[in-house]
Amino acid sequence: MLRAIALLLGALLGASALYEDQAGELDWYRQNVGAVLHADFHTAQGRRLVFVSTDVGMVAALDATTGETAWRQPLPAGERIVAQAIAPGAGALLVGSLAPDGALMARRWTLDGDLVWDVAVLPPAPDAPSPAALAFVGDGAESVVALWGASVTLVRGHTGERAWAWTHEAGEVSASWGGVHLTADRSTLVVYGRAGAGRSSALARAELAFASGAPASEVQLARAPSALDEADAAVLTLEPRFVVTLDAARTHLVFQADGDDGAHGGGAVRTSTMGAWSHASAGAHARILRVPLPGAVLVRLGEGHVVLVDLTTGEPHVRWEARAAGPVAIGSLRAGAQAIVAAVYAGAPAASLEQSTVLVTAGGAEVLPSPSAVPLTRGSYGAPSALYLGSYSKKDGGGVVQIAQRALLVTADGAVHGLADARALWAREEALARPEQLEFLAPPRARETEALADGPQYGQLLRAATRALGVAGGAGARPDGASGGGGALFADSFGFRKLVVVRTASSKVLALRADDGGVAWSALPSLDGQPVETLTMVVVPAPITHLDTDLLLVVRTLSQPHTYAALTYDGLTGELRAPAHSLPSRVLWSAPVPASDAALAALEAGARAPAVGHALVLDDFTVALLPDTDATARAFEAARTSIFFYLLDGAAGVIRGYGFARSQKQHGFRAVVRWTYILPANAHDLSIAQLDSAEAVHAPVQVLGDRGVLHKHLNKNLVALGYTQLDRAAPAAGPSVHVTVLDGVTGAAVHDFVQPRAAGPVKLALTENVVVAHSSAVPSGKPMLSLIELYDNATEPDYLAIMFSGSDAAALRARSSFEPRAPFALSTSFFVSAEVEAMAFTQTAKGITPRQLMLALHSGQMLALDKKLLDTRRPIGAPSTADREEGLMPYSPVLGPMPLQLYVTHGHRVERARGVRCAATTLESTSIVALYGADLFISRQSPAKNFDMLAPDFNKGALALAVAALGVGTVVTTHLRRRQELNRLWR
């Protein structure tokens, strides 16, 4: 009876189950935190954690031993983290960030990642300086002090309630506070900083009643002998306390001692010439490192030169100096009340890190024996840029407890490394948190397996045999996971195996495997060892399917004057194809030069692949050919009349189209203006989009319910421009969003769509003859999708001729953009329930499968919308018979709510989503979709289900059994039939 009741209850309760792609079968998700700006170590419940806040607005806790993310909390988009403090005893983490509206947001988190409170500190002045400091004061993190310009704000540590705020208002000598100190009797809060500007600069000190914030006395100003540096706030050292800053020229250290009893310890403001300490010259690059040390400061003078300046002896003198060959990163930690260990890691990029450790006490500084160099063997990370230290106790061989350190190292590419005991424990490719561009690379097809792998059934057999035999290098071979990968990577029969190449904001290029997210290779480009900025990354498709795809990077050095160069990488291995090709200027446009038939034949015959020809348009509109050979020039000459490009000048509101002409120089070509399209003067929020050149289109017509057709306006060179325009003559009408569709070859305006009462920024996506634009309604702010479908007023072909010849002769000719066409457009708009950050249409091998529009939502999820939902011909009112026949749904102004199954990210969130990319696979049903932002999500999408592939749960055993049973039945019945026939003949 009880069982029956339990079963009944079970049946009544809702069932929940995982989708298979949620289990990671078809998708993967990579969560990043970004490059670390602030870090604090703490061990809680036996787990060593490092609490970080990053450049992409994340607050996270990382496992210091493994590098795994313990928890992560994103701040609202647009906030920039400026401060972090930790109170381990109180289990509190404090993070300050500047919000887009100018407020300083202070948030207190528990060490488990739960938000306790947040409070907004208003700017002290409209033009308040951006540096701000947050500090816990008092026992148990009872209070939080926010120093921001001339204002001091005290917040209750447990409730987040603002207790009081005080601003030093003294006209031109307004202070900028940089340090805070609570006196031992907890009655007075002493704040330090500088005040004034120019010749009237002074070191400032104020005493405020801790309870009320009332000034206990006048602000004490100690005039400095020269103007002070206004870029950075003053630094307050630990006991013995000094207020330290630099002069405006950054050649002198300016400091003043401060008493311990709360009274102004005063002394005169002293200066010291930094040039006298070191061979390195002080100057514009000089900075005081904000490392709390007792009576000392660390000053970075120039490249590789860091000095530890002891201020306690009356006259500052250098206790220790690091002259590393490479860049230097500094970290510090407090071990006890007085002992401070400062460590410097320096070394050549991507090789090893030399460590130098200094023990700083109130009495002086002592250089400790340096451990061996920390090797960095994975990837190319660049120079160290920041270091954060954490201490822990450990016993040496003799059982003596020693203070050891673990460190968090941030390298120039943004990667975060966990170090301990001179060992690199782990590394996180946090450069991926700031992707600029994402491209799919298809591996080459292996010659020996291509014929077999063409059919999926053979491909499966081949894979199974390869697995069984353990043969490497076959259809299933892949790199070993190390940077630069060793094994060859070949395409699989389904085309699922691809490389996802990401160019990051730090100019690093990473290639991830699309099937599991592992890093296949990574590269941080450089020129003669100098760091560079990657301006553009172009995928150069292999001219034949057996060769690797190349990546062309155009880079420039960071230092002035810039040096430009083109670097060509093997896209599959990450190896540099050839030495850097120096360029005289930046590159405005680039494209591969089509290979000649003879070159293709030679490649097919097995000739070694030469560097793929490439044409680059430089700043002066001359063309640089790579390689600059007769063959490349001939190939470009043969194709130049059919190659065009366009440049959008957003500031001038102009888009210009260019063609190519010969110049007098040998192998010389130059770009010439073919057309100009001038946008309205008051157009703003410009965006531009073009069709994916690799997009496959199957049907040139749209079949209607009455079995008529609409001829799609198919043009690979369509360019969509989106912008917002406010009609100055009728401002009450509000802004409107315009989408102008141009032909990129001729500059002809194909269509101009206007969405009234809407505003940008306009996000665009194109496919076939469809343009989708996302904007926001005015004044409601509701997100909208506008849909434009372009069709041709084409005449019907001669059906009898088609019937007898088997094809439409007109369709066999290439279509020129210069042919006259008469397109017309159908358009409509829908409200959508969520703001869209980016969107793209799915791509399939032949373009037969209906497309889906993949929307990257502001919420971090990806929504798949069937194209049938986005149809301009959805009828208003009851659909007709033809509409029903076509499957047109009645028009509804609002799309949504959408079924949960359409949210392909399921439980994942891609923070700071900024782009969607889709790529076709060999299977017509399946498209690979990537959503990227601070995180990365990749999945397979089948808009019309897997009609060309067996479902994963297909019962192959039952199929085999059925086939075997049929075979047995055939044999048995054949035997019985023969026997019956023999008997009949004998009768």
Partner: protein, 182 residues
């Protein structure tokens, strides 16, 4: 050794020349009562009687031929009812019924000569009946074609020719360069 135990044969010596009849000869059996061996000799018909009889047969043949010629009519009524019942949605039943309705008339048209061969004695002209038969079957077939059209099975609309449409490649390429002025 033969497995045959016994047999009985009606064969006579005259029609079994050397046959296998082994019993006594049947020619010695007496004639049945009332049997006349040469009946035609008892009442020889006159020529007028013969002419009249032939005329009746010809009329009968023509009448029968017209019946055959109009036979598709009643069949069509039944088929039309079936077509109406099957509806205008293309499904397996409607397609099967339409095929059946079209197959039989076509078969009948091609077999028209054989159908009317029994009336072809060289004196009875059934050409008109044949034409009528073919026309009526063609009409039925035409109705089947019309039904196919209603079902959407005939390539009468542009959408039926999309297999022959192909996407034209672009003669030129235009791609975007780096954004300027930003």
């Amino acid at each position: 050794m033969s497995s045959r135990r016994w047999d009985f044969s009606l064969a006579t010596e005259s029609n079994t020349k050397g046959g296998r009849a082994e019993g006594p000869s049947s020619s010695h059996l007496p004639k049945p009562p009332g049997f006349v061996e040469h009946a035609e000799a008892l009442a020889a018909p006159t020529s007028a009687t013969l002419t009249k009889a032939k005329g009746d047969v010809a009329k009968l043949k023509v009448k029968k031929a017209w019946e055959v010629a109009f036979s598709p009519g009643p069949q069509f009524a039944m088929n039309a009812f079936m077509l109406w019942m099957s509806g205008n949605q293309p499904n397996i039943f409607s397609i099967m019924i339409t095929s059946y309705v079209m197959y039989n008339p076509i078969k009948a048209i091609f077999g028209a000569g054989q159908t009317f061969a029994r009336f072809g004695d060289g004196q009875t002209d059934v050409t008109l009946q044949k034409i009528t038969f073919v026309l009526l079957n063609a009409a039925v077939c035409g109705f089947g074609v019309l039904k196919m059209s209603w079902l959407g099975l005939l390539p009468t609309e542009p959408a039926d020719w999309i297999a022959f449409y192909s996407v034209r490649t672009a003669a030129e390429t235009a791609t975007g360069g780096v954004p300027l002025g930003q």
